[in-house]
């Protein structure tokens, strides 16, 4: 037996989770699948559940001078169709799941699940995004890269929720995104590659490259990126990324396929960007 709770405000939510260990239920696109039962049977949870999607304080997309701010219960569809956000966020979000999933799945949910295949994580790694975690007493801000330390493993304490995602505004010249799955939609990625870059006078002055779904957490080499800006040596950069790959065969793909295809996509994108 478990209890289901629907707090009336953020403050009430924080009080509730300060006094016990709960499933925090937002869109439900992951949690309801994990708790799958026979048709018609109520989903059984092994601990109490607190629902948060209805809380207005956890919704909305905002911007200030330096940052975009996405509240945790913003849906993937709201990101994909935002008039505030740049294409390098909107386009990849528009390729996640399928239309009905995007209408319910949330930004915070995809982060806090910390799945190997979470499609938003490579974006947030490349964009140096942070999150604000809230408990009843304090807020703490940390980079998403530090927050996620393994497959399904994060630095969230039981009495905290992700309140918002903070993405630094940058004047990128362009981006590239490619997701590979066994079909185009409704699919968990075999791999994904995300690149944003800045060019000035025909030269690359900033580039961020991240690879999702190969390792347990996205791959990004800031050192390698800095070297690449200096020497534009694609093969050397690919070698750096290859050395970071530590994936394994699973039911979606083999390690070899993931690694080879990721590197080929990166190479194709880098050549395109340099020639642009």
């Amino acid at each position: 037996m478990f209890n289901s709770i629907r707090p009336n405000s953020l403050e009430e939510l924080l009080e509730i989770i300060d006094n016990g260990d709960y499933y925090i239920f937002a869109g439900g696109t992951d949690l309801f699948i994990r708790k799958r039962q026979w048709q018609g049977a109520e989903r059984k949870f092994d601990k109490d559940v607190v629902f948060i999607s209805h809380l207005e304080e956890l919704r909305g997309i905002f911007e200030d001078r330096n940052y975009y701010r996405l509240k945790t219960c913003v849906t993937q569809d709201e990101v994909a169709n935002s008039t505030l956000l740049p294409d390098y966020l909107r386009v990849p979000y528009g390729l996640m799941g399928n239309p009905a999933i995007r209408n319910t799945a949330t930004v915070g949910g995809n982060i806090v699940n910390a799945a190997k295949v979470a499609d938003s994580l490579p974006l947030f790694y490349a964009l140096d995004a942070s999150i604000v975690l809230k408990n009843i007493q304090v807020d703490r801000v940390m980079s998403i890269k530090d927050f996620i330390f393994g497959r399904y493993k994060t630095d969230r304490y039981e009495n905290e929720i992700i309140y918002e995602v903070i993405i630094p505004k940058e004047d990128f010249s362009g981006f590239r995104y490619k997701k590979i799955g066994s079909r185009k939609s409704s699919i968990l990625s075999k791999l994904s590659v995300f690149i944003v870059y800045k060019k000035a006078h025909g030269k690359i002055v900033d580039i961020r490259v991240s690879v999702g779904a190969v390792n347990d957490v996205p791959i990004r080499s800031e050192e390698g990126e800095k070297e690449f800006v200096k020497d534009n040596d694609i093969d050397k950069f690919l070698l750096t990324i290859r050395e970071m790959m530590e994936g394994e065969d699973d039911r979606r793909s083999t390690k070899l396929y993931r690694e080879e295809i990721s590197l080929r996509i990166i190479k194709k994108f880098l050549v395109e960007i340099m020639e642009e």
């Binding site: 439900g28 699948i33 799958r36 949870f45 569809d77 399928n98 009905a100 999933i101 185009k184 939609s185």
Partner: protein, 157 residues
């Protein structure tokens, strides 16, 4: 607990739980069995309903997320003018075989029309990408939506 919401234009209140799925409530509590359960994990689209006007997989929506909101099922949508056009388009294209996926397909088609975009192949395929049909091979369904697109677009112009 008692949960109140709007169902097919009528205010309703039922005794259920916050974690009960919307799919189970419309089928079991209201006997609206046009909404089907296929995969139970948001991949097949057979259970699509409109929640505040947007397509959602009702197999993944807990009743907590329905409190005070508007739900339209295929039964409610079939009362609307546009349903007739979609039904005619499906019939003319021979887009229905066993019929299990069709309520969800029709809801997804309405989801596409609500985008108010020209119905290019890409828009149609993207709009139907969350719906699985094991009979038709999809071509007759695409054809129905393509023809419908021409008709709706002509109406607008």
């Amino acid at each position: 607990m008692i949960i109140g919401f709007e169902l097919n234009g009528v205010q309703v209140a039922i005794e259920t739980t916050l974690s009960m799925r919307l799919l189970d409530v419309v089928r079991n509590n209201f006997d609206l069995t046009g909404t089907k359960e296929g995969c139970s994990e948001g991949e097949c689209g057979a259970c699509i309903v409109f929640l505040d006007g947007k397509v959602v997989n009702s197999c993944m929506v807990p009743m907590s997320n329905v409190v005070g909101r508007s739900v339209v099922t295929i039964e409610g949508f079939s009362e609307m003018e546009r349903y007739k056009k979609i039904e005619t388009a499906f019939r003319n294209a021979g887009a229905v075989q066993c019929g299990f996926c069709i309520p969800g397909m029709i809801m997804a088609v309405e989801g596409i029309l609500r985008l108010n975009k020209p119905l290019t192949d890409e828009v149609i395929k993207e709009g139907l990408s969350g719906n699985i049909c094991r009979c038709t091979g999809y071509q007759s369904i695409y054809e129905a939506v393509r023809r419908l697109g021409e008709e709706v677009w002509n109406d607008v112009q």
